[in-house]
């Protein structure tokens, strides 16, 4: 089987772009990616694309060119971007295609989503009494984790502080204003122990990556990080997921833990080999728990690692170097691809002002409701 490389990358800045549709932000990202490698849309043999709230991804076609290309719309919740990437990876690895593009964009209304109990297979009373909020799930998961593993609120605040600090150095980030840990800690409490600065917000943006086989890359005289491994996994019995009126007494692994193990096995590397990581930070607690779920540290070690600055730029393992979801927002279709875009920039030495020195292996993980995780590991 052939190796798969990410030879080109493009992004439309995340955040709020009034007057510009989600689709236009996606098209912008695709054109940026093509321009990155001096290729044209007609050179693309396949496309996988996703958007959750901004229309069908293949609506890009009339704007980019009706070339007859195989375009497949991908919808996999918050892990849509990671799922598009995995689809493109397999398309080339199988030997069926030499070059193609994965893309995603979105534009969400402001504020939290209005969930519908029936659409989630839940009884109406569950929504009636005020227990159907994603914010509660995140709070409940980190609250228990903090109780079991000795994580304290200042660590939650430090994660958000780092996100804003990195966002301030990132052209594609949304939140570029630094906020100190004490301000974050004392801000309005939304769902204990999480304050408003600790949560990411729905946002807008687009991202695109061009994938090619090893042979095609060399033919074109191009280069780019190699995809060492990628995996998507869904929940098993005993995992703790959003909108769960009950949980099994016998606890099981999270979808992130099993996706992570699978991706490491495919890549033939371990957590100790990772130089830079982008992991799902829907809120501060998620980044802390995902550090352990992705094998990057043991449960409870986060308290000291974060206090010592080990996950900041310049630390031993910089995490969410572009500010993550907390500083970039979370446009569902694009979010997972934004993580990989950032890793590509890091491995190509193009992350000006936030470059991780000598980064050779980069890790990304996107998690989404109702319980799935997508992991990709890249090598320089």
């Amino acid at each position: 089987m052939t190796d798969v490389h990410i030879i080109g990358a493009g992004i439309h800045p995340f955040g709020r772009t009034d007057g510009k549709s989600g689709l236009d932000q996606g098209i912008y990202a695709v054109r940026e990616a093509l321009a990155d490698v001096n290729l044209e849309w007609k050179d693309m043999q396949f496309a996988f694309g996703g958007s959750s709230a901004a229309g069908s991804a293949d609506s890009m076609l009339p704007h980019l060119g009706l070339t007859g290309v195989q375009f497949i719309n991908v919808a996999n919740g918050c892990a849509t971007g990671g799922s598009s990437l995995l689809s493109g990876y397999w398309a080339i690895k199988s030997g069926e295609f030499d070059i193609g593009i994965v893309t995603g964009f979105d534009k969400h209304p402001r504020g939290a989503f209005n969930p519908d109990p029936e659409a989630s297979g839940l009884p109406r009373w569950y929504g009636d009494v005020g227990m159907m909020l994603t914010t509660q799930f995140f709070a409940l998961k980190i609250q228990r984790y903090m109780g079991l593993h000795g994580i304290t609120p200042i660590t939650l605040a430090r994660v958000a502080e780092k996100a804003f600090e990195n966002g301030a150095k990132t052209p594609h980030a949304w939140r570029k204003q630094q906020v100190d840990a004490q301000t974050i800690l004392q801000a309005q409490m939304l769902s204990d122990p999480l304050t408003k600065y600790m949560f990411c917000s729905p946002a807008e943006g687009g991202a695109a990556l061009i994938l090619a086989s090893d042979k095609k890359m060399r033919e074109l005289g191009l280069g780019g990080p190699r995809m060492l491994g990628a995996a998507v996994r869904t929940r098993v019995n005993g995992s703790f997921e959003v909108f769960s009126p009950s949980l099994d007494v016998e606890r099981g692994p999270s979808p992130t833990e099993i996706a992570s193990k699978a991706a490491y096995a495919i890549a033939g590397v371990g957590p100790e080999d990772i130089d830079v990581a982008q992991i799902q930070d829907t809120e501060s607690g998620a980044e802390i728990m995902h550090m352990a779920e992705n094998g990057l540290c043991a449960d409870g070690d986060q308290e000291k690692l974060i206090a010592d600055g080990e996950t900041r730029l310049g630390g031993r393992l910089p995490i969410n170097t572009d500010g993550g979801c907390i500083a970039c927002g979370e446009p569902i279709g694009a979010s997972g691809l934004r993580q990989v875009y950032e890793n590509v920039q890091q491995l190509r030495g193009r992350a000006d002002g936030r470059q991780v020195k000598d980064a050779k292996i980069a890790y990304s993980q996107v998690y989404g409701a109702p319980g799935l995780s997508a992991v990709a590991i890249l090598g320089a």
Binding site: R124, G127, D128, V129, G130, M131, G147, L247, V249
Partner: protein, 144 residues
């Protein structure tokens, strides 16, 4: 705080969600016939035949908790309150030993009292709906 007696005389928020026994109210779950896995609530619809109803323990231990500090969006939230009159409420999960961990609203006078692992007891409480009706729903409170 609402009293248990108030909750027990009102119409329930949903049928077959809980029942009142001599030792107080109990939630009703479902036990899967094939492997004994217990879930809450008792499944309805197409998969219900795979489960038998089971009366769950009405005491357990606090597994996790949070406080809902802002009024949830409507829909789906159906409370009679508005932005101005909304009062933050606690909610969380209570582990019923050997059965299942259930999500529940929590009745507590001081949120700071809540600690993972503390003993909890089930009760029924009134819930005022936006349509003007009042029904009973379930909650847990610290046992001591």
């Amino acid at each position: 705080m609402p009293t248990a007696a108030q909750g027990e005389t009102l119409p329930p928020i949903a049928s077959r969600l809980f029942e009142v026994a001599p030792d107080g109210p109990h939630l009703l779950g479902g036990r899967r016939k094939s492997d004994g896995r217990t879930v809450f609530p008792m499944p309805a619809g197409g998969e219900a035949y795979q489960y038998e109803p089971v009366r769950l323990a009405n005491e357990g231990k606090l597994w996790s908790f949070t406080v809902q500090r802002f009024r949830p969006k409507s829909p789906p939230y159906a409370g009679a309150d508005d932005e101005a009159s909304f009062k933050p409420f606690a909610l969380g999960y209570v582990e019923l030993a050997g059965q299942v961990i259930v999500e529940t609203r929590i009745e507590v006078d001081n949120f700071a009292r809540l600690k993972i692992g503390m003993p909890m007891k089930m009760m029924l409480v009134p819930f005022g709906r936006a349509d003007g009706s009042t029904v009973s729903t379930y909650a847990f409170r610290p046992a001591q």
